[in-house]
Amino acid sequence: MKRRDAIAGVVAAAAAATAGLYRFTNLFVKHYAPTPYDDVLAQLVDREQAARLGAGIPGTLNPATLAARLRSGLKPGLAAAAEADVAAGRMTEVDGWVLPESVALLAALASRV
């Protein structure tokens, strides 16, 4: 085997290993089991932190209801929805934190799936 082929093989193997680690472990990025609400949860940049925040939200709304409420509100995107909430005074308290309602609902959803 030529030296060049050997190096190429090692690089390919390393790339495959990295891809495997990326896809099948939480080493590089956290993976979540698929849910019916992934289209909504995709708005979150850091779902883990959102879930931690959402754990402080009491309430009886189930994920399906939360997602249904969020789908319509998040059409313009999370930032725009949050700004609209703030402008309209739609605030929700989570453990005392004064949050835009859409952010709080999304965090609640993240914590319940």
Partner: protein, 501 residues
């Protein structure tokens, strides 16, 4: 030059006949005396204490209390020349226009005049408290407040306002009126300051139309009489009540108490600590938010978050002044709130900094928050007082709405985030401090059924007894009262000059 007179050296039976007798040598009494200095009026300033603190004299202030935990009655005030200015913090801020208004969501609120009537006196009051060049909200803003920028709040219900501070000279605390103005009092030929002189009764003429004389005693057993043309009671929001109620030989309910108002509506400014956590996404706040800053012209300033009049009306809240206390560390859940919210808004919060927030609140007037005479008596035989202290859940609820608005504004401007740390009554009371601002007990109203004194400070029904100081404030504001009570007292000084002339 008139030296201070120690009343203990006066022969028993002495009768003094000044034009004006001022009872009480605190900030109101001294300011009034100074405003009358070098006039044609003979002024007698009667102070119960001496130049220095004396625990025996101080003990005369002690009393009983029930209700919400509150400072003992002999703690929040000082019975010596200069009164409360011997231990004040020097925080100065003029009251806002809305503080003078009758607010339909604040029962019993409203002064008999607007801030315009006080405006001419604020600059002189500012001179007396030595708070530096006048630069309150109408003129000063962050542009002259030193390093850093004002937190953007996007034009909502709160805005950055300013405290100015009574000047500290070297290691001396803010202006202590007794020490600072004793020479001015001595140098005014028409002012006679009398120390260790305790007024034990205000004696009315038989028809209860005038003050006839004042009974004065010393703790050494001397007794003498003052027969003034005009008497001004300036002993503070607690002691004024005691003298009026205890002087009940002609008016059985006490002087000025024909409508059962004297002692009612007692108020203070609650100062709950750590009421909220404020996170600044961009990192540390400008230094003027967390500590006093000295400007090039010598003015000492500090920022505070004040409520706009429009928000007070729309939100039906009282006044409040929220001030940054100190940096705090966030726990994991708090970090999660900051990260999630900042990412949602598209803001970089990698340098975010958190601070605890404290507050000075305005209480709603409450007739049942009240001082009455108790059965106990002090060393001179005067009945002691009993305080029923109350604070309503609605007081906290109103301030909570203000904090929610501040949180909303921080988000609207993408400047930060707020956590409210108090939800239940016990949360608020846990870290509760008090301003030692004794307010409202001889309230001012042109209607005798609603006030003890009229708009000039004259006790209803009497021709020559006035009251000076914050006891006449009918509603209270969140601003510290000293600057404001001095401005009001200077207004009274001008009135008296006209009346006596």
């Amino acid at each position: 030059m008139t030296a201070f007179i120690d009343a203990r050296t006066l022969p028993t039976g002495t009768v003094l006949t000044p034009d004006i007798a001022i009872i009480g040598g605190g900030p109101a009494g001294i300011s009034l005396a100074l405003s009358l200095a070098h006039s044609k009026l003979n002024v007698l300033l009667l102070e119960s204490g001496g130049m220095n603190f004396d625990p025996t004299i101080q003990k005369m202030y002690s009393g009983a209390q029930t209700g919400v935990p509150y400072e003992p009655l002999d703690v929040g005030r000082l019975r010596q020349l200069g009164g409360g200015t011997n231990h004040w913090g020097g925080w100065c801020r003029p009251m806002d226009e809305i503080d003078f208004e009758r607010r339909d969501w604040v029962p019993h609120s409203g002064w008999p005049f607007s801030r315009k009537a006080m405006q001419p006196y604020y600059a002189r009051a500012q001179d007396l408290v030595e708070a530096g060049p006048w630069s309150s909200d109408q003129k000063g803003d962050a542009s002259n407040a030193g390093e850093g920028s004002v937190l953007p709040l996007n034009g909502g219900g709160l805005y950055t306002s300013w405290f100015q501070f009574s000047k500290m000279r070297g290691d001396i605390l803010p202006t202590q009126f007794g020490n600072r103005y004793r020479d001015d009092l001595k140098h005014a030929a028409n002012i006679k300051p009398l120390l260790h002189a305790n007024v034990t009764a205000i004696r009315l003429t038989p028809g209860a139309q005038q003050v006839d004389r004042l009974d004065v005693a010393t703790l050494t057993g001397k007794h003498f009489t003052v027969k003034p043309r005009i008497t001004v009671l300036a002993c503070g929001g607690i002691e004024n009540v005691r003298l009026l109620l205890a002087s009940n030989d002609v008016m059985p309910a006490g002087i000025g108490n024909q409508n059962d108002l004297v002692g009612r509506f007692f108020a203070d400014n609650p100062i709950p600590r750590d009421v909220a956590t404020l996170v600044s996404f961009a990192g540390p706040l400008a230094p003027f938010y967390g500590s006093n800053q000295t400007l090039a012209d010598g003015t000492i300033m500090r920022a505070t978050f004040a409520t706009t009049a429009a928000f007070c009306r729309a939100g039906k809240v009282g006044g409040s002044l929220s001030t940054i206390e100190q940096p705090v560390e966030l726990e994991d859940a708090g970090k999660a709130a900051v990260i999630t919210t900042a990412l949602a808004l598209g803001v970089d919060a990698s340098n975010a900094k958190a601070y605890s927030l404290g507050c000075g609140m305005e209480l709603m007037p409450d007739p049942d928050r009240r001082l009455t005479l108790s059965g106990e008596k002090d060393a001179l035989g005067l009945p002691r007082l009993k305080l029923e202290m109350r604070i309503a859940d609605e007081d906290f609820a109103r301030f909570r709405r203000t904090l929610t608005e501040l949180g909303r504004q921080l988000l609207a401007s993408k400047a930060g985030l707020l956590r409210i740390n108090c939800s239940h009554r016990e949360d608020w009371l846990k870290n509760m401090g008090w301003g030692h601002h004794h307010l409202g007990t001889t309230r001012m109203n042109d209607d005798p059924k609603q006030g003890v004194v009229n708009a000039d400070g004259l006790v209803h029904g009497l021709g020559n007894l006035y009251i000076a100081g914050s006891s006449v404030f009918p509603s209270y504001s969140a601003s510290n009262p000293t600057l404001n009570l001095i401005a009001l007292t200077l207004r009274l000084g001008d009135h008296l000059k006209k009346v006596v002339a």
